[in-house]
Symmetry: C2
Subunit: 241 residues, 2 copies
DNA sequence: CCAAAAGTGTTGCTACTACACCCATGC
DNA sequence: GCATGGGTGTAGTAGCAACACTTTTGG
């Protein structure tokens, strides 16, 4: 009988099937009152000319989260530094990619509008998303309102991303990575309304948010308005007891 | 310039890294008032003698869900037929398996106690689970209360599985796959209490469940008791409007 | 009748909603 | 002053938790 060290020395990984593993990153934000995502135009087959999420193969010694951050950093400068990143789901239908079997681990990244806008280069677009509330795929619209054909199963990935956001909005602080460091309650409400796709009651929203204990008043006020300047708040992570 | 068909004919998948992809299935139930999971004793290196979730490599043309059902069917007869199955999370730390890089897609399967008990063979055990409410790994206990050493990162997988169950219990019908076809409200409450790890108020629980609209009264009553026989209910899936 | 567990009525609390209103600022 | 959006007070309502209570069975 071998001991564990001997076993590992003789182990031959090639006797088991090996697959391509990729990550796809849905870098999302809220722009002009609707959820939006960064899409890149495919410049190669397959699905040439269609729009897809930034993605890439996972290296042999690379962690999944690391691969997702690398892919984000590659597309514009909105990569690793502090962006909210969470694994979404793993898509592995045998025919999801016509090249070969590719298992794709989808990630959700959340960024403030300005940071994501800075990552838009000539081959990329910040697409507005429309996701029905029940089931069904997402629809992506370009800057002129034209529908953007999506590559692979990315319409499903995007639908899941938005629905995950919707579900978490109420009881986890996912809205804050979508906003700048300091923000007004109105901006926070705009983010919630955009993600949920419906309007919310203002006083109820204010109180709910303040009661959560996630917000810290800075005492500062936003300027540049012709009306009463709103107070700026900052996100304070919940206390671990 | 190639067209898509030509491109695909010439595509060489071997230029990109290929990894081993596995599925691990946490087949869970509620037994004697606590969550329990089916674990198998490892009869080979690595982690020889430790306890692990049933798992296996994903075949080149096999869907991820199909692989999970195959793995479940292999361990006892509690496989594909109708068991609740849901993807949990994908674990891909480069060093999580000492043999080689293995990305593992973890699945959660839910079964009634009798069905899972039937799958316990001499190399398997139905382990009771203890999962702290905040963060931290799961602890598995054998039939005599002895702690079972877990292989790989399976303590993390199990912690996530139980926490996922806890989170969904209130607003999705995840409790029903853990019960037989017909069950009493007391049994349903026992399942909830076992998963949550705390007692619930009986009248409040009854009404909440009946108000959900998920339950259909059968009119039948359970027998064999020395007291008033409780009514048997059946799960009715929520109406899609 | 008694024990045991099923099942119900009632009350009070908490959280959220809706509506109306006041406040502060630039022009 | 006045227009505009920020911010607050107050009441109504729905859902849930706690407690005490009644009901139904086997022995």
């Amino acid at each position: 009988m071998l001991n564990e060290t001997e076993f590992l020395q003789r182990y031959d990984a090639s006797v088991y099937p090996r697959l391509s593993v990729a990550v796809d990153a849905a870098a999302m934000t809220v722009a002009d009152g609707v959820p939006a995502v960064l899409l890149v135009r495919r410049t190669e087959h397959p699905h040439l000319g269609r729009w897809s999420l930034p993605g890439g193969f996972v290296g042999p010694a690379e962690g999944l989260d690391d691969a997702a951050r690398r892919v984000l950093a590659g597309k514009g400068g909105m990569g690793g530094e502090g962006a909210f990143l969470e694994q979404l789901y793993t898509f592995g239908a045998p025919d999801r990619d016509p090249r070969t079997r590719i298992v794709s681990v989808a990630y959700l990244a959340l960024l403030p509008h300005e940071r994501l806008r800075a990552a838009v280069d000539p081959d990329a677009v910040l697409a507005r998303l429309s996701v029905p509330s029940g089931t069904g795929p997402a629809e992506a619209l370009g800057p002129d309102g034209e529908p953007l054909p999506l590559a692979f199963d990315h319409a499903d990935v995007l639908a899941l991303a938005v629905r995950r956001l919707r579900g978490r909005l109420d009881y986890t602080p996912v809205a804050f990575p979508l906003l700048p460091d300091r923000f007004t309650l109105r901006q926070l409400q705009d983010v919630h309304e955009a993600v949920l796709g419906r309007t919310l009651n203002k006083p109820a929203f204010r109180r709910r948010m303040l009661d959560r204990g996630w917000l810290e008043a800075t005492g500062e006020r936003a300027g540049g308005t012709s009306f009463r300047p709103p107070e700026l708040f900052r996100y304070r992570p919940p206390q671990e007891d």
